[in-house]
């Protein structure tokens, strides 16, 4: 049986993208699998009694080493802010390519804590900073110093000791350009070094609480129980920075979604699901109920989505019990079709994620196809014709062409870069200043403009000749030809409409990172958790790959 790939016009709608969940394709899970046979080490731990100083952690194999250099700094409560406009943090980190010398560490100590205003070199791969969850961090230190373990119910309300507020890579602030490292097998997957940084930061947070507690009460202090450590992750506060990223990297976005869609297609085409495969799927599904129930948020928007998801999971379990005979053929296809008819988008996408769990042989080859050489699709094919361009637009953007941009509601927002922080923001075109400096993220509007411009032109006109007179549409012509090769490269929605929920765009990217427990704090930023439940670094050579459902 041949199952078609899902239609990009359905999958690439923002409400659908904003319902995506982590899966076996997620970058943090593929990172753990890739580095499971690397040697982990804590190379330096030079903190004072109060936990401030330098620490270095590394992964090494053969002659390669990646070292996380951590700087823990004293921070007054009034200086602590997760907003991107902050200038000081509890800790700052850089992932160094190799083993840093004393000179390197000194150089990094002058720059890494400054983050965006510091300068890094091509020897550094990623950069980040993090703030303590004051409530959880102090509580854990207090308990450990008294010789007792913290209450896990208390800790689960937060889920982490630190949260990062940005993780940078790919040439930012002088970091190594992607081309310098792209041929290394171990990082042949997107954001793998960013994942390594976050994972090692998690270990640093455990070591730091143990260290502070020990110095607070050397006689009675105990170390944080390893089970509790495993159930703590790293938090992350994510703002609008991620949203333009997915618009500005169309072929990369395509490769992420295409991997997911290909996995789904292949799973739906499985004729006979074995007992063992079904058992893995069913276990992940039933454990999910507990997992999703512990998903805390104050956001009414998210609470509604979580309740829908819990209902969906329950309905799914009931449907499986009542209607699925495991001995039948194509049961995952039947299940998927039922889900599309009966579940919310959250529920459908959750099902898609857990259906992947039994099938390493399907997901593993796809993981290495999730990176992209974006320069290869940069050149506009200038010898193509206006007829080609028009046909691609009509085929790939038919829903977009229905939007009436003369209505203010469809043209309400604009994306811009703030001068003081060089970060993306979204404003109201009719109320806020700055729309004349709008970023090229209004793809739907510009597609419509291009379509109207070429509507009456001669079919045979070459694109190169068209551009000579129409360079203002050059960016959008480029995109149209990219969608011809990459069907999942474009969001099939209006990113400047009044109904836009920007966190849908963030959620899409974060789900591919492997984030869980999305906790929107407004429609423009959210908190999430990464690596909660993951094995500790010295357990990587043998771990339960379904840890995320525990």
């Amino acid at each position: 049986m041949q199952v078609p790939l899902r239609d990009p016009k359905i999958v690439m709608k923002l409400s659908r993208l904003g319902s995506f969940h982590q899966s076996k394709l997620s970058f943090l899970r593929s990172f753990l699998n890739e580095f499971k046979d690397w040697k982990y080490n804590r190379d330096l731990f030079d903190l004072n009694d109060r936990g401030y100083g330098v620490a270095i952690y590394s992964f090494s194999k053969d002659k390669k080493t990646y070292s996380l250099v951590c700087f823990a700094n004293e921070l007054k409560d009034e200086e602590r802010s997760d907003r991107v406009i902050a200038t000081k943090w509890d800790a700052a980190f850089a992932l160094y390519d190799g083993i840093p010398s004393k000179i390197d560490i000194d150089r990094l100590s002058q720059n890494v804590p400054k983050q965006e205003v510091g300068r890094l070199s091509y020897k550094e791969l990623t950069l980040s900073r993090a703030n303590r969850s004051v409530r959880a961090f102090n509580y854990v230190v207090e308990c450990l110093s008294k010789g007792i373990q913290p209450n896990t119910n208390e800790l689960s309300k937060v889920g982490y000791l630190y949260r990062t507020t940005a993780v940078y890579g790919s040439g930012k602030f002088g970091l190594a350009d992607r081309f310098r490292i792209k041929n290394r097998d171990e990082i042949n997957g997107p954001f793998r070094l960013e994942m390594m940084l976050v994972y090692l930061v998690r270990q640093f947070t455990f070591d730091q609480v143990n260290h502070i507690a020990k110095h607070k009460n050397p006689k009675d202090a105990v170390e944080l129980d390893l089970d509790i450590c495993r159930n703590l992750g790293i938090g992350n506060s994510t703002g609008l920075g991620m949203a333009p990223f997915i618009v500005n990297h169309p072929s990369l976005l395509n490769n992420w979604i295409l991997a997911k869609e290909t996995a789904l297609k292949k799973i739906r085409e499985i004729e006979k699901v074995s007992e063992e495969e079904f058992k893995i799927f069913y276990n992940c599904l039933t454990k999910s109920l507990k997992n999703v129930t512990s998903w805390n948020t104050d956001s009414e928007y998210q609470k509604k989505k979580i309740n829908n998801l819990i209902n969906d999971l329950q309905n799914l379990i009931n449907y499986l019990k009542d209607n699925i005979d495991k001995s039948n053929f194509y049961i995952f296809d039947k299940l998927y079709n039922w889900a599309e008819e009966n579940l919310s988008e959250e529920g459908v996408e959750y099902l898609v994620s857990i259906m992947m769990e039994p099938y390493n042989e399907i997901t593993d080859p796809l993981i290495s196809q999730m990176s992209s050489d974006e320069d290869s699709s940069f050149n506009i094919p200038v010898d193509r014709t206006i007829n080609d361009l028009r046909e691609i637009i009509e085929k790939n953007y038919s829903d977009i062409l229905k939007i009436d941009f003369s209505k203010n509601e469809n043209n309400k927002k604009f994306w811009f870069i703030s001068k003081n922080k060089e970060e993306p923001r979204i404003g109201d075109r009719f109320e806020d200043n700055g729309s004349e400096l709008e970023q090229p993220t209004a793809i739907a509007r510009d597609i419509k403009k291009l379509y109207e411009t070429i509507f009456t032109l001669k079919n045979s006109l070459k694109i190169g000749n068209f551009l000579v007179q129409n360079n203002d549409l050059r960016h959008i012509v480029r995109r149209v030809f990219i969608t011809e090769k990459y069907p999942y490269s474009e969001i099939q929605d209006n990113t400047i409409g009044s109904k836009l929920v920007p966190i849908d765009m963030l959620r899409l990217k974060l789900s591919f990172f492997g984030a869980v427990k999305f906790d929107p704090r407004s429609d423009k930023w959210l908190r999430i958790c990464m690596f909660q439940g993951a094995p500790l670094p010295n357990e990587l050579n043998s771990f339960n790959q379904y840890w995320i459902y525990n």
Partner: protein, 202 residues
């Protein structure tokens, strides 16, 4: 050191700030990054050009002839885009002469990228400075200094026919040497080891 990603981003934004469209800005960001990657002083040139950009009137050329002469100086960005967009038809002219161009090094990446999309090497001569552009993979040149080239009086562009730059004699000698990796075939070996049929007369 500034990363190439930073160079791309900053040039893209500054090009937009000079009044070009986002699509053009994307092209210039990539081009200047490419110049810097090839060891040519792209940042220096674009910065200098943008300083005078609003003070002088630069021209574009929307259709190319064998000889192209502006009244004022050509803008390397507008001319570069026009050249790149029409390079598939321009190549039929084989040799092109362009007079008077401001900051011609900014024009160079457009020609280099044209070499890739036309599938032909391009010889570019900016006054006395020579560049052989190899399918946008490499640049061979006698321009080794990082001096700013503010203007060129004459630019010559030649699309080179696809032909080997070695003799048939060289090729034959190497082919003969390469045959030393083959096994001498006897009748017996042919009978025992050939995959295809031994006769094609069926």
């Amino acid at each position: 050191m500034r990363s190439y990603s930073e160079i791309d981003t900053i040039v893209k934004r500054s090009t937009k700030a000079k009044g070009f469209s986002w699509g053009v800005a994307e092209e210039i960001g990539k081009n200047i990054k490419q110049l810097e990657l090839f060891g040519l002083p792209g940042i220096k040139h674009i910065n200098q050009y943008f300083k005078i950009f609003n003070n002088e009137k630069f021209e574009n050329c929307q259709s190319f002839n064998k000889s192209n002469r502006p009244q004022n100086f050509y803008c390397p960005i507008k001319l570069g885009l026009s050249f790149f967009d029409q390079s598939i038809s321009i190549q039929e002219l084989n040799d092109i002469e362009i007079e008077k161009m401001a900051y011609p090094l900014i024009f160079l990446p457009f020609v280099s990228r044209s070499s890739e999309i036309t599938g032909k090497r391009i010889f570019l001569k900016i006054d006395q400075k020579e560049f052989l552009l190899n399918f946008n993979q490499s640049i061979y040149s006698n321009y080794l200094s990082s001096e700013v080239v503010e203007k060129a009086d004459v630019i010559k562009i030649q699309f080179l026919e696809n032909k080997n730059n070695f003799s048939e004699e060289d090729w034959k000698e190497l082919t003969k040497l390469s045959e030393n990796t083959f096994v001498e075939e006897t009748d017996e070996l042919k009978q025992k080891t050939a995959g295809a049929g031994l006769t094609d007369n069926d």
